[in-house]
């Protein structure tokens, strides 16, 4: 602690060389996303061995379109959670944009490319509104987005009491066509996920977003524009809902008011399963993508192996629970691993233990 100034790196020589298994253990601790990726693979192998059709091209394409929906929402959702907030609106907003994009396209006859742009922009604008409520008026994210959750659900019914048919081929290509056998929607998801990864891990704004969620006051005092980072997360989340709305509309070939429900919870679950901490400041895009993939595979896979729909939600619940429990274990082992290098930490634990032991309960 005192005296000789050993700086960076030196204590490493004292570290025991880890065995192969403990190295794998450490890696799992450092990169928890690996576990979820493995779970995705295992789940897929199990389902396709029960029902080989799961691995067929058409089923995989279906899977890809579903993944695009959940996955894109999860990307936006995870950003808001990383800032320490939450977005309850994506499900309702998606349903809203299913109707709105169809309405633009069919009822208002807006050119299709423009529909892509204005629907996304509309979503971003709605996210901006959330950001305004949260940062300027100091409304809790939960409440600010809950308002939208309720409002948008009613609004889409109001706009389209009856489904609005869509017959624009470019628009329908979004979910209906493929490029190299991959659905366009899935490609859109891949691009968005890569952008999300790049944003979080390769831009300074992304790092600052983590900092805002990790310790808001520390971020503020370090000169980070906290409010702008928060607003951006909700803007992205809103825009993602716009994109997903169009994908769903394209998939359904109509603007149907009650097209999706509960997707915000799936997006939140995907984030949490993927290792995004609800406290904020933690989580990576690869985990979010894997979390979304796991949920989609479970959902579609359980259908494919003829499991009753009731059980699907239960399975998802169990997976969520498992993810949370594993995360707790991971955090504990991380704290223990950290304590190797810490002079105070193990002692604190020792003292705590000693304190408890002075008062044995019978």
């Amino acid at each position: 602690m005192s005296g000789a100034s050993t700086t960076l790196g030196e204590p490493a020589e004292a570290a025991p060389s880890p065995s192969a298994t403990s190295r794998l253990g450490r890696r799992l601790v450092d990169v928890p996303e690996i576990g979820i990726v493995l779970a995705v693979i295992v789940a897929f192998v199990i389902f396709s061995s029960i029902n080989p059709l799961v691995a067929s091209v058409s089923e995989l394409q279906n899977l890809g379109v579903d993944l695009a929906g959940f996955g894109i929402l999860a990307v936006g959702e995870s950003l808001t959670i990383i800032t320490g907030g939450i977005d309850l609106s994506p499900g309702s907003l998606t349903a809203f944009f299913v109707v709105v994009s169809a309405w633009f396209l069919t009822t208002e006859r807006v050119p299709v490319l423009l529909v892509f742009v204005i629907t996304t922009a509309f979503g971003a604008l709605w996210g901006l509104w959330h950001g305004f409520l949260i940062t300027r008026l100091g409304i809790a994210p939960f409440v600010a987005t809950l308002v939208t959750y309720i409002f948008a659900a009613g609004a889409n019914e109001a706009i389209a009491p009856n489904p609005i048919p869509i017959n624009n081929s470019t628009f329908l290509a979004l979910a209906g066509s493929t490029l190299f056998e991959i659905p366009i929607a899935t490609l859109v998801f891949v691009v968005i996920a890569i952008l999300g990864w790049f944003f979080l891990e390769r831009t300074y704004i992304g790092r600052e977003t983590y900092a805002v969620g990790g310790n808001r006051e520390a971020a503020r005092l370090a000169g980070i524009p906290v409010n702008r980072r928060i607003v951006l997360a909700y803007v992205v989340s809103g825009a993602c809902a716009g994109v997903v709305g169009m994908i769903v509309a394209s998939h359904l070939t109509s603007g149907t008011a009650d097209s999706v429900s509960g997707w915000e919870l799936i997006a939140i679950a995907a984030s949490v399963i993927g290792g995004v901490s609800l406290v904020g400041g933690q989580g990576r895009m690869i985990g979010v993508v894997a979390g979304a993939a796991l949920l989609v595979i479970l959902r579609d896979g359980l259908v494919a192996v003829n499991v009753n729909a009731y059980y699907q939600s239960m399975v998802v619940g169990v997976v969520l629970l498992a993810a949370i429990v594993i995360d707790r274990f991971r955090v504990h082992s991380l704290e223990r691993a950290g304590s190797h290098f810490d002079r105070r930490h193990p002692l604190d634990a020792v003292v705590d233990k000693a304190k408890q032991s002075t008062a044995p309960m019978g």
Partner: protein
């Protein structure tokens, strides 16, 4: 120090030596936290155990109390070897420990707490309240604690709880009484009682191990001093050898030198920061100028506006009046981003709550305020430039870590503080504001933080330090301003420094307007 003779054989110790540690070693991973060849304590001794945070005091106490199992070695208590039974066995052998925080059960009464695990009276299954009260009253009287045994612990003051805790330990009639900073929550009168109790326990043939942070208390009480450093016993001193200077030197491993010469006046350096008639809610109006390479200390009581002043300058709180200038250009921060961009940094008071991303890597923490600058085209943050910058800062701020990828949470207090300091070394602001820069760090780490501050000062940084430790300000500042009620009550040049006058200026109300 009687070393060697009985250490290898595992013999429980010579007669009269009733607590013997032999070859005790404990490591957590690669870090050896305790390594004691031989230590024998005799009945009737009060032993002061001193050392910095992390020196191994807690581990040593834990080993004696049975809650920490050493990797090697034996502990024998009253001639019997402490076995694998752990804390219960240690208790059985006569070890009682009083710690700083209270493992008392709040919903239970004083008597119930005192007798936890014991059941006076005849019935084996039912609690005989009257018998319990009688026993408890006796124990309470012994420590001079005048409360009803039926009082709930929740309703007691912190000091009363601490006394109750001591009563509980003494109630077991232990051979070895371990007191871990027992007086930190107590007023002087109560501390005296504790010290007397400890003396009495030793006089009655017990052994007292006393850990205290108030050095004069340890000195007043102990017959013998064990100094731990890096898990080893570096000295074992008799009362007359143990001067304060000697103890501190042994704890730290060297004499703490006064900080590098600050006597050279900075009066002819250019002014780096100036505030005129600066006012904010609960602050000012006040004038303040800091020159390049100058350290200005801010003294004052809690609530005198010290921290508020720093926060206003750092743009973290709005100012309502007045103007500020930074290197002769107008400085009007609307928020902390403006302040950092203009070259003002703040090391806040509470590093965990206000400065650190505890669960993020050290790397993220040190580069937090320079992310934009080290990004390619002011946008793309490459892992390489981030790592390079982090390595540079970790070295410059002398943060001791295995790798910058470790979580900041795993560092000790002093290391965390250097980490936060490093964040601003990276920025190189013109004006650095330090709010309690050495709070909660140990003596050695303090000295290092002082030298880091001095290095930055020498490079021309203007520095304002708020501290509750007057010695610290006297040591490192060129000037000290004293705040009271949000205003500057007095100002002292280095040649006029006087502890008494500064304290008087901070504490005395309304002498000057």
């Amino acid at each position: 120090m009687s070393q060697g003779t009985s250490s290898i054989t595992g013999r429980p110790g010579a007669p009269g030596e009733d607590l013997v540690l032999t070859g005790v070693r404990k490591a957590y991973g690669p870090v050896v936290v305790l390594d004691v060849d031989h230590l024998a304590l005799r009945r009737g001794e009060v032993v002061g155990l001193v050392g910095e945070n992390g020196a191994g005091k807690s581990t040593m106490m834990g080993v004696v109390a049975g809650s920490v199992r050493p990797d090697t070695g034996t502990v024998s208590i009253g001639g019997r070897v402490l076995g694998a039974g752990g804390p219960l066995h240690a208790q059985h052998l006569g070890v009682a420990m009083v710690s700083q925080e209270f493992p008392l059960v709040g919903q239970l009464t004083a008597a119930e707490n005192l007798l936890l695990g014991r059941r006076p009276g005849k019935n084996r299954h039912l609690v005989d309240k009257r018998a319990a009260d009688a026993v408890a009253r006796g124990i309470l009287a012994e420590v001079g604690l005048d409360i009803s045994p039926r009082r709930k612990v929740d309703s007691l003051s912190v000091a009363q709880r601490q006394m109750l805790e001591i009563a509980k330990a003494l109630g077991r009639k232990p051979l070895v009484l371990i007191l871990d900073e027992p007086t930190s929550a107590l007023a002087p009168a109560e501390s005296d009682i504790v010290l007397q109790l400890a003396r009495r326990h030793a006089a009655g043939g017990g052994i007292v191990i006393f850990v205290g942070h108030r050095m004069h208390e340890v000195q007043a009480l102990s017959d013998r001093f064990i100094v731990l450093r890096n898990g080893r016993i570096v000295s074992d001193l008799r009362r007359e050898e143990a001067t304060e200077q000697r103890l501190v030197r042994d704890m730290v491993g060297r004499d703490i030198e006064a900080m590098a010469e600050v006597s050279s006046s900075q009066a002819n350096r250019p002014v780096a920061f100036e505030a005129r008639q600066l006012a904010a809610e609960g602050l000012g109006p006040l004038d303040l100028a800091v020159r390049e390479g100058e350290i200005v200390g801010v003294a004052g009581l809690m609530g005198s506006g010290r921290s508020r002043l720093l926060h206003v300058i750092a743009g973290a709180r709005p100012s309502t009046h007045g103007e500020m200038r930074l290197s002769n250009s107008r400085y009007r921060p609307r928020n902390t981003c403006d302040a950092v961009a203009a070259g003002v940094g703040l090391v806040p008071e509470d590093r965990k709550a206000q400065a650190l991303l505890l669960d993020s890597p050290i790397r993220w923490n040190v580069t937090l305020a320079v992310l934009r600058r080290i990004s390619w085209r002011r946008l793309v943050l490459s892992v390489r430039s981030d790592k390079k910058e982090a390595d540079r800062i970790v070295a410059a701020a002398r943060v001791r870590c295995t790798t910058p990828e470790q979580a900041a949470r795993a560092l000790s207090g002093g290391n965390q503080q250097r980490l936060v300091f490093g964040r601003w070394i990276a920025v190189q602001p013109r004006l650095l504001l330090l709010d309690e820069p050495t709070r909660g760090v140990d003596v050695g780490a303090k000295a290092e933080i002082y030298s880091l501050i001095d290095e930055q000062r020498k490079q021309g940084m203007a520095i304002v330090v708020v501290s509750s430790e007057l010695e610290e300000l006297l040591l490192m500042c060129h000037r000290i301003i004293v705040m009271r009620g949000g205003r500057i009550a007095a100002e002292f040049k280095r040649s006029e420094f006087s502890k008494e006058r500064i304290i008087a200026a901070a504490a005395i109300d309304r002498v000057a307007g």
